[in-house]
């Protein structure tokens, strides 16, 4: 036990001495959190649309005003003489609303008046949102106009856990986990690869310290770094993003310690297997960044990944921790909802540690 602490004290001293890297490792997660969680949002507002009103009646102008009043769209002027598609091709608008001749007359006569909405679907998700929002605007327009054909069944939609539908609250836990998966493990792999590169690992082999003591000491030191990053990142999470702890915090706390162990072990494992700093960074950027970014449901639901590669996400450690953080900060499901995910984080961390230990042992035998 004493040797483990001595080892991690040595490691922490080295980290603190390289204060420039440490400052980066503590400041960058926060910068990343603030920047990326607002940048990756999918919920668009203030989309430019153009309107071609071929009717120009009071009814059609009322209908356009309904679109003008929404925060989702802003109407851009466009001459009637120019082809409306030209606005989409030149990226000046995302959709075109075309109100045909006789729109007002048909409405007054009680006929259905068709309105054409051309949507630029090169971004499929935004196109679906445009269709959904404009449907809502049209329905609200009818209700206000006092159409006697009231809908017999009304849908009352409640948004749970995130009533404002803020995408920041959805993305922030994801980026929080991404930052925590990248930086501690980057530092750990660099420190471990350095031992291999500078051959100081040989001193460890000839000393009386055992492989477990050496590895645990290193892992412990980088767990401290991870927890420090975690605590620092909680500040913007609770203030800027307006998140809080919903329900029982114990699964979150246990999972955080296990996740710190998991990412530190991953870094140590990579550094032990690849005794070359540049190559180790490549491996971490693949495992810590690309896998966690792509296959953990950070931005898009995991269910959308084709089955051929979806199974990989079963092994992606970040996936479980993202679910735990979202549950702790938004849903508050507590242990019944998350025990299995907490266990998976611990299990994957254990596997990383075991591989790191095994690599150490094999290297020791070879040298």
């Amino acid at each position: 036990m004493r040797r483990i602490f001595a080892q991690s004290r040595k490691e922490l001293t080295q980290i603190v001495r390289d204060w420039r890297t440490l400052a980066l490792a503590l400041a960058l997660p926060i910068a990343l959190l603030l920047l990326v969680s607002s940048a990756l949002s999918l919920t668009v507002t203030d989309l430019p649309i153009i309107v071609q009103d071929l009717d120009d009646s009071p009814a059609s102008r009322d209908f356009i005003d309904a679109f003008r009043a929404s925060i989702t769209f802003h109407v851009v002027a466009w001459p009637v003489s120019r082809q409306p598609q030209q606005a989409l091709v030149s990226n000046q608008a995302r959709a075109v609303l075309i109100i045909p001749d006789h729109f007002g007359r048909d409405m007054a006569r009680g006929l259905d008046a068709p309105v054409q909405l051309l949507i630029d679907a090169s971004d499929a998700n935004t196109a679906k949102l445009i269709a959904g929002y404009s449907g809502q605007i049209a329905r609200a327009f009818h209700k206000k106009a006092g159409s006697s054909q009231a809908d017999p069944v009304q849908a009352e939609i409640r948004f749970w856990y995130n009533p404002g539908r803020s995408s920041k609250k959805f993305l922030a836990p994801g980026i929080f986990v991404l930052a925590l998966s990248m930086f501690p493990c980057l530092l750990a792999s660099l420190a471990m690869a350095k031992e291999g590169e500078q051959k100081t690992i040989l001193q460890v082999y000839v000393s009386s310290i055992s492989a477990h003591e050496f590895l645990l000491g290193k892992v412990l030191a980088f767990m401290v770094v991870a927890v420090a990053e975690f605590l620092l990142m909680l500040i913007p999470m609770f203030t800027y993003f307006g998140l809080g702890i919903a329900g029982d915090p114990t699964p979150f706390i246990v999972a955080t310690v296990l996740y710190a162990f998991c990412v530190a072990s991953f870094g140590i494992m990579v550094g032990a297997a690849i005794p070359n700093q540049a190559a180790a960074i490549q491996a971490v950027s693949f495992g810590g960044f690309l896998l966690v970014f792509l296959l953990s449901g950070l931005m898009f639901p995991i269910a959308n990944i084709p089955a051929g590669i979806r199974w990989i996400s079963f092994f992606v450690w970040g996936r479980y921790y993202i679910d735990i953080v979202r549950d702790a900060m938004l849903q508050g499901g507590g242990w019944p909802a998350t025990w299995y995910k907490v266990a998976m984080v611990g299990l994957i961390g254990g596997v990383f540690y075991a591989i790191a230990w095994w690599t150490m042992r094999r290297m020791q035998l070879e040298t």
């Binding site: 920047l35 999918l42 209908f63 009231a150 017999p152 009533p163 660099l190 540049a278 690309l290 931005m299």
Partner: protein, 385 residues
Amino acid sequence: MVPVFNYRVGALLGKEFGQILRDRRLALVLILPPTLQLLLLGFALSATVTNIHLGAVDDSRTEESRELVATLSESKSFRLVRYYASIDQLSGAIGRGEVDAGVVIPYDYDKDLQRGRITTVQFLLNAINANTAAISQGYAEGVIETYNAGLRAGGLHASFEPIGAQDDSHQGQATLHPAYLYNPGLKDSWFIVTGVLGMLLILNSCLVASAAMVKEREAGTMEQLLMSPAANSEIIIAKVAPLFVLLFMTAILGSAVMKLAFGVPFHGKLPLVLSAAALCILSGISIGTVNSTFAKSAGQAQLMAFFINPPLASTSGALSPVEAMPKWLQSFTVVNPIHHFAVIARGSMLKGSGFADLWPNFLGLLAITLVLGSVSVWRFRKQLS
């Protein structure tokens, strides 16, 4: 500095190409991963919302209410998982993630309809994922609208006769007919891969360039190059040209992957996209070169690239629409080469836009490349002297 292609440049080019070709692994590392990443990103990043798992609480337990649930689950958007006895059970199931959405039908549903009264059906949506919630809301309202139309037309078992309906006060409704242009199948991958190609070109050229520059310095052969009669600009041209050729092959391969694996239509002119790709590669190489002049070792150079690239990529609009970013971030996309490439690729490939529509983005990309290029030459010279 006038880039003259004389025998000195030729000799240096021969040396650089020879080095790369001898290191076959490097050529492989340069071309293969971007292609694989393009495939992975294109397949894995999809915001499609289908098969929303639906739980139902049916307090009415009549044919009318079952018909409503059937209408919901008949659409591809919702899939009925099971019925729950009470709202408490349903909310528990949403909390545990068993279902993503719930529908609650009141006990007097059929009676209200028979008597011609308006009835309200409650939808509970798990809104943690704001985008999925917004799209589910659209789906739910669409299904209810269809159901209402069916009630009026009398095609359903349930029927509805509004009280006091007078046909003379009847007013028509404006019906929206959305048409999805340029991507009628609403494929998410078309949006992702057209942006991601630019992102991968920048990231990889940045990594490769800084590795190549640092390698010469680490090996201590930079002095030998300096002592040769070649001018600095000639050294730079010879260094950049082979990387550029290899990365350009990646761009061509990437375009082929887009066409073959994702079925992206090439409505516009391919040379337009490829010249934008070439500018992207040049600015990526410039970023990498500047980066390498600050780094002492290959490890440090990579570490710095690690810090520059994720923010650059995520604020570019390659993965998410620019309109969804905060206003202050939107203005930064003007100086982001990935953003300009994404606009050009999407415009040309999906919409068939020509140079007349895309020139502002070309101008932006060209300006960024020139600025980054001159900064990198300046830093490189400063480092040499």
